[in-house]
Symmetry: T
Subunit: 144 residues, 12 copies
């Protein structure tokens, strides 16, 4: 986040309604009884993907994802890596078999976006649609 | 291409040194004896990926890729899709086991690119590096 | 259709609200952003089944099915073949693992249907129930 | 049989040359030395399919089928179910790998049958052809 | 039930709205057209688990579970055994791949339950939540 | 037993120290807490083998075997069938992976046995050695 | 054919008793009821092999092969490629598991053939023997 | 432990003969030459299970378990989770294939325990029996 | 043979119509063009089974068996071993998948044979029946 | 060699720069430190293929191939057999997964070779190209 | 042995209590009835490993190991090779699944051994401990 | 390092040209654009092996190895453990399938090394040869 956006942790937390430390594995969202409709991991590193694929709940993020899978809730993983090696592909296959959705933020150019912001916005809108959130952005679009 | 770039076929062919029709399965590049160092499929549709993964050489592109694999030459597939379903993941796994490299054009933001052109350029540079072509663009970069 | 029902293409299209050419892979229904609740392929040939099972989106029908699977929407395949060979069975298994529902139009005789029309109607009703459509036909039935 | 045809057991047995109780696992047809050319299970319930697929010879029918497979004789299973779940598909795959033929009574409409009787008759004829029995019904037909 | 609770069959049936004999494989709940939201098997013996995992619908319970799976309805299996051998684990894996949910009644001590009744009650509440039934018991809890 | 030895059930039970009905699934030997060193199934039908391989504890014999496997005790299955079909072989492989020992009563002729009794005795002795029971028969032998 | 033999389509058809267009998927030989003893695909391209291996009946040739496999008739595929990549090998394995025979036209030199014609003739004779056709060529030979 | 029992670390350590820090991967018990008869992990979190299943010895507990497996000593894992997702089941299967025993603390009600203490005590006794420790509690019991 | 029957090689060869040395891998029967209906390996050692299962044609026997499998002729392997280890079972499974028949000489006692000769004779008769040879022994029998 | 070419061992050795006995497993070329660029097995019998596929280094040839694979050097196997049985195909798949190249000497007719010598020469040239050896034969060719 | 130690066969045999020729497949130790506690193969070549992994009992050593596995006795294989190719790893995995212990003589430096003799001695001690033999060497050590 | 060599971290770093902290996952060598020819992990613990095998890039070492695999660069893992359990073997198999080389530092005695230093030196030389580094040590050697 610091490298890509120039944001520090405080600035990010200010944007969030709620934030947790990754080390806080006992947080409410790590409990099956904490009711959610969906969970999005954005971005999802290869390390987080691997942990989720193998049930290795080593921090709050991966424990919460593990819970989402055992409670059969929608889990979307915005993996980001290129190229893929065999371990990455096996892990993406495993989480898909477990019920998660692998959603790489692959930009589409169908709309001929004019800026990186617009390009990123399109991806965000598509992910929100995936978990049933009505987008605030009114422009219709036709997907990939 | 037409949707994304506003280019028609003629304009594209004008940019190419050589171009073939997909239907021309008997073209020189479909022969194992046509000597190449590497082949890049950009972009690689889910349909082309599936054909290559299953050895279904139904046009010049997929036949040439099949030949690259049997001759053990470097083959890079710039797949573009989101989200992935299980068939996509199995196909990417299969081509990786067969020796190809799955290289989705996933943008990196480490350099804080200022425009879509720059973002696309970074990806192009990385693919060229992958097949051993010295980039014409001098700026060093640090990858994902 | 011509062999089985004596219908030509025009007659069929007259019955439909909307119809597309299989070659029109860029049609709206091939886009993930085209919102649907479910898709039924009726009948589903062994060729279409194979294409869907392997992610080989070679026409509008199989591309739309591929999209339904990646968007995790309900996809029902009314496969029709007998006997099954190993490839047919592996393909049916693959699409089931991918989330589709293999629904062969196997007639049930529990209601002692009096005509082929009634027999076909029972199957249609069951498929509609599968995708959540209230049948227009009031008679209750008890399934297989 | 009672639900579908209104036949009771006695009526059925009157139509048969020989009949056995399912519990009679020691009957002649359960012996490898009882010479047969083929065996047809019609209809074949999901339960019988599962028993045969796993070698679970829990009654005369499934024991006889098990023997047919170990003696490498033709075994045809007219499975009847819709939709298929994963267990059904795995079982059909298993029996096919073991040498059996999965033959669902899927009606064909190529001949434009005029009644359910005709439709059923077509299927019966095809199964008889599968085990080498010349049909008594002279009308040629062209299959699925 | 007799060993664990001292209840006989009559007492149990008095507590139920509807009850069926396991041998009544033709009961309404064994039909795909009998509309249900979910099915819970409590407790689920290793034998029932095995039957469901292999599609061996040998009584009303396992047939109804098989139907739930083919109709893609929620099926929760409260398996109870310890330790697990390899067959148990393979069967639990198989039913999970088929869409069922393996839900062993493993007591949680987070709430520091004061009695076995409370401990059992917690598990019951969690299962009801799993199938979307609002619990009558108001006390909030935080799950495992 | 009746076919092979001319013994009826009463005669057999007279030879045994303890005997149970197969239907008595609640017998002491079906409990993990009933302490045993080993269990031998002799002979082991293909049906019993299949039940054990899939964890389908449908009678006292197969439940006891299932318990032996979960408690990691020695379990020897004297399977008797010829030829083997694929289901038989997969079941024998499965129980071996689960920890059981497949011990077909295959006669050895190394000792040049003079009678069927002697031949059967040799096999019995070898099985007893397998579970650590000192044979009462003093003659040394050299196995297969 | 044109490249290898200098024959055009008309000349080939003149040599055949019957010939069909690959696009004629409704031809008689695509029906299970068209009675044949065996089918030979000579030569069998990697594309045809892939289609048959995956049940992708995309033209008359591959549909007819698919039918041969479902009707359990002898199907011989004279594949021709070198070297093999992993997709080719997996496809050959799949069709063999499905019951087909992979018969590459690999020349044998045991007879010390004096010309390419003789070498080709040997292979043809062996294939004919494989499908039970008495060769017209009287010279005995001893195979590979 | 704090949530469930109200015990802090000091209180627990007071109950133990020996205690180690999880970070102390060089402790004696992590060595193959430290002679033990068995190891019990109680309770065994899904994270520890995953680490052991994949050989990821990331702390003293999982390293010691890894050593137990390589030295072929008895290892009992008292996993505690509900429901299971596919990763949990695959991990339990993997450790079982590696020789460990998955022993969830699933309460049995056969004895009609009167309190949670008694219920927990039964499980403890059964685990001790599993590793060959004579229980101090004299009351006989009959297990599940 | 010497240990079991007291026969030496000469005596055995005197009983045979034709005999070959195992080292004579170029013998006529190792050629695909040597026409046979079936091949029986009696007895079939675990070593021969392993060679055939893996295509390791290291002597005349295993080469001839390999040829029988590639020419799709009936191959019967009278394996003799007890107990089976995992390698034996995997090899028997492999040859069965390849088309061979695993036929252990497991004695049946249904006929209450009076001597070892009779017992062996029964097995021989059954194998001969398996390959379509009319037995010279007139007594009917009922198999296992 | 004797059957096919009429050459004896001495004549062959005279053509070679260096030759070893197959029994000389301690020869220099069996050592990983003997530096080579590639190894070609021509022809490669089904027996040698099987040995290499399973790591069964039973003579100098298969040991040298095993070393080539462990040192990750190019290994080309000119397998020669027809038809293939399942063991052959599994072995070819295994060696390909291990990094070897299966290169059957399948003649191509694109150049319309005029003699067997020319046909063989084409194959030799292609293999030499595969291992990076410039052919002495100047005529360009276009491969399969 | 000659290369590594300068010992000839006679010198080695003088050190042994008993020695057999590898060709003596009928020796006492190849019989299941020859009672042993454990068997160590030191060193275990890749060839012996492959033979054991596939049940290919081609000499006394591999036959004895095969017997150890079928009798479920402890078998320790001191494999020695580097690097491993895929066949080596698959073979080591197979024997481990079959119950053997792969024990490469990998030196540990924890004790800071002062000489090769000491280093070898440590490994020998560890293997002896593995099969329950009290070492004669008193110095305690802490393993890897 | 401290246990085996008596070196502390400072002493080791003094020997290195460059050194990084394992926690520094953003270091230059973790980037795909950092150009390297090969990477050697010496020694490679079972924990690092497991992380690499599953794509779990939890520190700089395993992230750099993951990058090496995705960029298809040579990666050599000097694993050190004995005996191997199933997880170790599966992990070594996985990394080999992903393209890495498992290179255990198994000492060879062919040269009759006179000291541990010489023995270690031989292994180092072989690894350097594996990644194309000319050794500084002039003595020729013949490998395993």
């Amino acid at each position: 986040m610091h490298h890509e956006l120039g944001l520090d942790r405080r600035a990010l937390e200010a944007l969030a309604d709620v934030s947790y430390s990754p080390a806080d594995v006992g947080a409410a969202i790590a409990s099956g009884s904490f009711s959610t409709e969906a969970m999005v991991v954005a971005p999802c590193s290869m390390k987080s993907l691997a942990s989720i694929a193998h049930g290795l709940s080593d921090n709050l993020l991966t424990r919460a994802a593990d819970v989402a899978l055992k409670e059969r809730r929608r889990l979307v993983l915005m993996v980001r890596e290129t190229p893929f090696n065999l371990a990455h592909l096996r892990n993406m296959t495993a989480v898909t078999e477990m019920g998660a959705i692998v959603f790489p933020p692959m930009p589409a150019f169908y709309h001929r976006p004019q800026s990186i912001d617009e390009l990123v916005g399109d991806t965000v809108e598509r992910v929100l649609a995936m978990i049933g959130v009505e987008s605030a952005m009114p422009r219709s679009w036709s997907g990939l």
